[in-house]
């Protein structure tokens, strides 16, 4: 790598100097945390809309004649929470060098997440009302849909990690590529608990 870089440069350089590490935090992890902050703010804006539609406007929630299926969503919540646990187990396994458990953990996390998304879509299909009927419907679909989109992004990241896990990547020393998407997935889970609590339960 070093040699290759010299060949096409006039300068007698050997690639960039090693950057000084001025903080103990890992750059990728810090980047992900900051990204999560801005994601929280996106949800914050959607919750603002929710607040205006439900609290400021004092309309009924949900709109008259509509129902919110809190029981099925409750089961779905359990599914998502368990996927966080399996993910934690997978990370723990790769750290302690147990590759088999790591692969099983990643695969089951991915499947649980996919299952959540499947149930969510099913819920939409059987809900019986659409976002175009009322503002309550709009924000219901808006918030759960926003969250669903995040589940989808998270699943894509998990899929990459899973593929790489089965291809023999990552080790007890090098597992940042598991940790960073992992923290995102945990964020998606926690966010769901908030969404579930405000939209379905309250």
């Amino acid at each position: 790598m070093e040699a290759a870089s010299v060949s096409h440069l006039e300068h007698d350089h050997h690639g960039p100097p090693e950057a000084n590490k001025s903080s103990r935090v890992d750059p990728a992890m810090l980047g992900m945390l900051l990204f999560i902050i801005s994601e929280i703010m996106v949800f914050g804006a959607f919750f603002t809309a929710y607040f205006f539609i439900r609290v400021v406007n004092t309309d009924s929630w949900p709109a008259l004649g509509q129902e919110i299926p809190w029981a099925i969503a409750g089961i779905n919540t359990l599914i998502l929470i368990s996927s966080s646990l399996t993910l934690h187990w997978a990370l723990h396994s790769v750290k302690s060098g147990n590759r088999f458990a790591f692969k099983v953990g990643m695969l089951s996390t991915f499947l649980l997440g996919a299952c959540f998304l499947f149930i969510q879509v099913n819920e939409y299909i059987h809900l019986g009302y659409s976002p175009t009927e009322s503002a309550q419907g709009s924000i219901f679909y808006g918030l759960t849909g926003l969250h669903g989109a995040h589940v989808f992004i998270g699943l894509t990241l998990l899929l990459m990690v899973t593929v790489r896990a089965f291809r023999g990547h990552f080790s007890a020393e090098h597992h940042r590529g598991v940790e960073v998407p992992g923290i995102y997935w945990h964020f998606v889970d926690v966010m769901w608990v908030v969404v579930y609590a405000t939209i379905y339960i309250l």
Binding site: A19, S22, V25, L34, S38, A45, F52, M160, V163
Partner: protein, 631 residues
């Protein structure tokens, strides 16, 4: 040809864009078929989906995602051979490049392009307003012109040009070889042309360009013609670009400072971008969300802003201003940083109250989130919000005032060198103060009720954005021009540019205070006879102002091509970027320097900021100087 289509670059980008449009066509039609919508093929639906989807195909084709695709698939990634560092000809600036110096120049040039386009629209606006009645354009086109003008200058000029300047100098200033995430940096840049192109293309949309102002209030925007979507979606790309750059700056500043570069030794430009990036990460998602709401209402019939079905139109304004007030600081804080650098260097004095300068930046970040509803005093929102917002708005003027007084104290008894960057910095100081004063006036509820939606607001925003932000941008471009291009600009032309701008600016926007107080409404193509005199005057002055930009462009182009070669440190500055050659070596430093003192110790005998040893020899603070950076 086949090889060209496979390799990243413009050919593949073009092919992928077509593919993307075809894909979006198929997807939309498929979904419509599944829902058995009629008509099956709907031009509007396809265009909106394509505006969201095709840019991604374009970016993939250009090659901004290549590395990540390899990584994701678990395939061996192309080892970083640094082949994409540096630019050897102008063509390299049109390629995906991961070198922060190249990206910085790409940013600055692209945003100045949009500045010129937006500026040309301003000329049209003033031509229309030169006399009462209709001159050149009809009312709808006029609305489109001022809307696109403001959107381009805010989202595609001021915000990104600051990111571009900082992209170039910030890693150098903190002694880092590059940004923390070079590939993300390239992606952030390439989202900008996408956003700008969308906004410009809106002129060709049926129904004309978006015409709802840069604020795009709902429900005006939710039942506007198709062009509105090009604002809504363009803002998403510009916003994503800012957020990604802000993350990148924050991580770079936190994790890649040179040894000895503690937070309290960072140049104020770095502090300023640190604060701005915090604002971007926290606030920008709100504008993204506000435009998502509009998109959903407009395209899918959601009811966020449909009062008849329980929606709330004021919610738009709350969400929008919760971003857009902090955004005015996103457009100002980096300029504060630039001015701090220049004033200290050109006055040959340490910055007065360095720590207060940094703390006041952070104070603005925090307070900036508490004032948004001062834009909504006449919106009909709950009356009890007004007074708290008036108070917080008055309070936020305090940290801003602290900065003004610190700059004045920095100048006090300094040996001022009045060259172009310094003139613009001083111009900023005076003009921004005037803008701040009209701002505080606007914070007072009785005043604001009286002048809301008049030219007084237009005067205020131009005193802070043109006299404030743009003057600092000019100052920064002149100041770092030698470093970025390796050549000197023409000082005489620079001075002509400054005086033309300064005089033209005041003659253009000063009288707007007057016509505003007299009650001339903003955002209207026509006006009452009584304002004719001032408006003709303003229009004439604005053409002088427009012409002054041409002097600038000529100076930049001619000097870049054939200006005299610049030395590494023409301003005798202490900060690290001036201690390396002009332009800097391809990897910035042979070895990361060691920082042993503050960045502004001008006039302090024997003061040193950074020492440039080979890494083995470098010793921390207190060791002997090898290559002096003192005066």
């Amino acid at each position: 040809m086949a090889a060209k289509l496979r390799a990243p670059g413009w050919y593949r980008a073009g092919a992928f864009t077509l593919l993307g449009i075809a894909f979006c066509f198929g997807l939309t039609t498929l979904i419509r078929a599944l829902y058995s919508y009629d008509p099956l093929i709907d031009g509007y639906a396809i265009t909106v989906v394509a505006m969201l989807g095709a840019p991604f195909f374009f970016l993939v084709g250009l090659g901004t995602f290549d590395y990540w695709f390899y990584w994701a698939a678990g395939r061996p990634t192309r080892a970083e051979d640094h082949s994409s560092h540096g630019a050897k000809s102008w063509r390299d600036y049109f390629k995906v490049n991961t070198d922060h110096k190249v990206i910085g120049i790409q940013y600055v040039c692209t945003s100045f392009f949009f500045m010129l386009v937006g500026g040309a629209m301003a000329m049209l606006i003033r031509a229309e307003l030169a006399a009462p009645g209709a001159q050149f354009v009809n009312a709808q086109t006029y609305n489109g012109l001022f809307s696109v003008h403001a959107s381009l200058l805010i989202f595609l000029f001021i915000i990104p040009v600051f990111a571009g300047l900082a992209n170039y100098v910030l890693p150098l200033m903190i002694g880092a070889p590059d940004m923390a995430f070079p590939r993300l940096n390239a992606l952030s840049f390439w989202m900008l042309p996408v956003a700008g192109t969308l906004m410009l293309l809106s002129f060709f949309a049926p129904g004309g360009s978006f015409a709802t102002g840069w604020t795009a209030y709902a429900p005006l925007s939710t039942d506007a013609p198709l062009g509105q979507m090009m604002f809504t979606i363009g803002v998403q790309f510009a916003g994503a670009s800012s957020i990604a750059t802000a993350l990148n700056f924050l991580v770079t500043i936190i994790t890649m400072r040179a040894p000895g570069m503690s937070f309290w030794r960072m140049p104020l430009l770095v502090w300023a971008n640190f604060s701005t990036s915090l604002l971007v990460v926290i606030a920008t998602p709100f504008v993204a969300a506000s435009q998502f709401f509009v998109l959903l209402d407009w395209a899918l019939g959601f009811n966020f802003f449909n009062a008849a079905r329980g929606g709330d139109v004021l919610m738009y304004q709350h969400v929008f201003w919760f971003y857009s007030h902090p955004a005015v600081y996103i457009m100002m804080l980096p300029g504060f940083g630039i001015v701090s650098e220049i004033l200290s260097v050109k006055a040959r004095k340490p910055i007065f109250g360095y720590r207060m300068m940094a703390f006041s930046l952070l104070a603005i970040v925090v307070l900036g989130f508490s004032v948004w509803a001062h834009h909504m005093f006449v919106s009909g929102m709950q009356a009890w919000i007004r007074v708290p917002m008036m108070i917080t708005t008055a309070i936020i003027a305090i940290p801003t005032g602290i900065k003004i007084f610190s700059w004045l104290a920095t100048l006090w008894r300094g040996v001022l060198k009045l060259d172009t960057p310094m003139l613009f910095a001083l111009g900023f100081l005076t003009m921004f103060t005037l803008g701040g004063i009209s701002g505080v006036m606007l914070a007072m509820i009785p005043v604001t009720i009286y002048v809301s939606d008049t030219y007084f607001i237009v005067a205020h925003i131009h005193y802070v954005l043109f006299g404030g932000s743009l003057f600092t941008i000019f100052a920064g471009v002149y100041y770092w021009f030698p470093k970025m291009t390796g050549r000197m600009y023409d000082e005489r032309l620079g001075k002509i540019h400054f005086w033309l701008t300064f005089v033209g600016f005041n003659l253009t926007f000063g009288p707007m205070h007057v016509v505003g107080l007299q009650g001339m409404p903003r955002r209207v193509a026509d006006y009452a006879e009584q304002f004719a005199g001032w408006n003709l005057f303003i229009s004439m002055a604005s053409f002088v102002l427009g012409a002054s930009t041409l002097v600038f462009v000529w100076n930049m182009v001619a000097s870049w091509r054939a200006g005299p070669k610049a030395s590494s440190n023409p301003w005798r500055a202490l900060t690290l970027e001036w201690q390396v050659s002009s332009p800097p070596p391809i990897f910035n430093f042979d070895a990361v320097p060691t920082v042993v003192g503050g960045p502004y110790e001008y006039g302090v005998p024997g003061a040193v900021h950074g020492i440039f040893n080979s890494p083995v020899e470098a010793k921390p603070a207190g060791s002997l100087v090898t290559r002096p950076t003192k005066e």
